[in-house]
């Protein structure tokens, strides 16, 4: 709808018909961003069912007409939020890899980057929408298949590099990390509105890495502070927005 060079002809935003095509397009993009920012806050704070279009309108300060110009339904807004979440997850994996370190350290850094990203509403909203079945048919199994690929690759590399204890298979380990991470989110959301999530993530990683990493690697990692050092400020709380 707001393709580059294709100014929406009927955008009912205030002033939409004033200015040249480029200005109109910039305004349309700004309107769309305002709606998505408001929607991310709304879907992070409430289930899809409880989330309300009128609260999204209020938060975004956009007219109903402008909202329906950009999105045909609540479901299409949810789908756009999961689009944003997808981009954010791909970016954070690239960022974790760019920081260097062996594959197990990169895996732990991915978990840290996820906690960083949860400070904003997009990942909280997207993860919640996915748990509620709104990943959309264009993304089967999202984000679980994605995380299985990411951690599957990292733990395979770790096994090749001799960083896993003898007898440990990287395939069930990657699945366990995906399961325990998805479950920590759902459980923490249910029992504490995400307040205990970082603590859960820390203890879960300590438990799983403690059980599966090579003893020499583990000694070195623990000397550096282990998962607590990786998660750092998240363990002292602070970012969680009240639901």
């Amino acid at each position: 709808m707001s393709e580059p060079g294709d100014a929406p002809p009927s955008d009912p935003s205030p002033g939409a018909r004033v200015g040249g095509p480029q200005q109109r397009q910039a305004r349309a993009l700004a309107t769309r961003s305002a709606i998505l920012a408001a929607a991310a806050e709304e879907f992070a704070a409430a289930s899809y069912h409880e989330a309300s279009l009128s609260r999204i309108l209020e938060r975004s300060k956009v007219t109903k007409g402008a909202l329906y110009f950009h999105f045909v339904s609540k479901e299409s807004i949810a789908s756009a939020i999961v689009d944003e979440m997808e981009e954010l997850c791909r970016d954070l994996v690239v960022r974790a890899r760019s920081k260097g370190g062996d594959p197990l350290r990169v895996a732990a850094q991915v978990a840290r980057e996820v906690q960083d990203a949860l400070a904003g509403p997009v990942l909280r909203a997207g993860q919640r929408l996915c748990s509620e079945g709104f990943a959309g048919p264009q993304r089967p199994g999202w984000p679980f298949t994605f995380w299985q690929e990411v951690f599957g690759g990292l733990f395979a590399d770790a096994q090749r590099a001799g960083l896993l204890a003898p007898g440990v298979d990287h395939v069930p380990l990657a699945r366990a990390i995906v399961d325990i991470s998805a479950g920590a989110f759902v459980t923490s959301l249910g029992v504490s509105g995400l307040r205990d999530l970082a603590m859960r993530v820390c203890q879960n990683w300590e438990l799983l890495l403690g059980a599966t990493a090579d003893p020499d690697w583990l000694r070195d990692w623990r000397a550096g502070g282990g998962m607590g050092a990786v998660l750092g400020p998240h363990l002292t709380g602070g970012w969680v927005v009240e639901a």
Copy 2:
């Protein structure tokens, strides 16, 4: 609405006004059961959002009037399904305990009873509804708080009985089991429509017990076939209803 001795005065089921109060009440209960059985199938196969009241009506062969006599909304039907799930979960814990064995074996048996119960639609529907935020305000944190209590108690007993390896704390272990179990359900639902759930549960328990149980206990447990023996027929598949 269908309290004992209090025949619904306006139950519009066929023949509702025929017969004495006891017969009318029996018919009302049968109608309610038929609606809940159909709703469990529907909510197990679709998200709350996708689930349709007209398909529930079709499946239950109940009139729209009868449905609205018993339930005011789709949400109230979902809440009744979670009521049934709650009863089922409490029963299966009692059943697992009644089979005897040490606390770690009872914990593993609880996981087996959960797999048994997933053959019916009530637990699949209830678990899905809870992940989607429909546990209801009368059950804060359900079912996660319940499972934390159950596994928290069992692993505390296991630690007291010397069944955990030195240095293992039962509290994070119980949380990890709750997280990984909730996550296995959500992830398996997302990636395989629950077809790989029993395999995930088996590998997750092997990994976590392998990391935390006392070595002597573990040797004995593995000699008996470990988690594979506990889960038995579930690992060869068969019960999963297509979503």
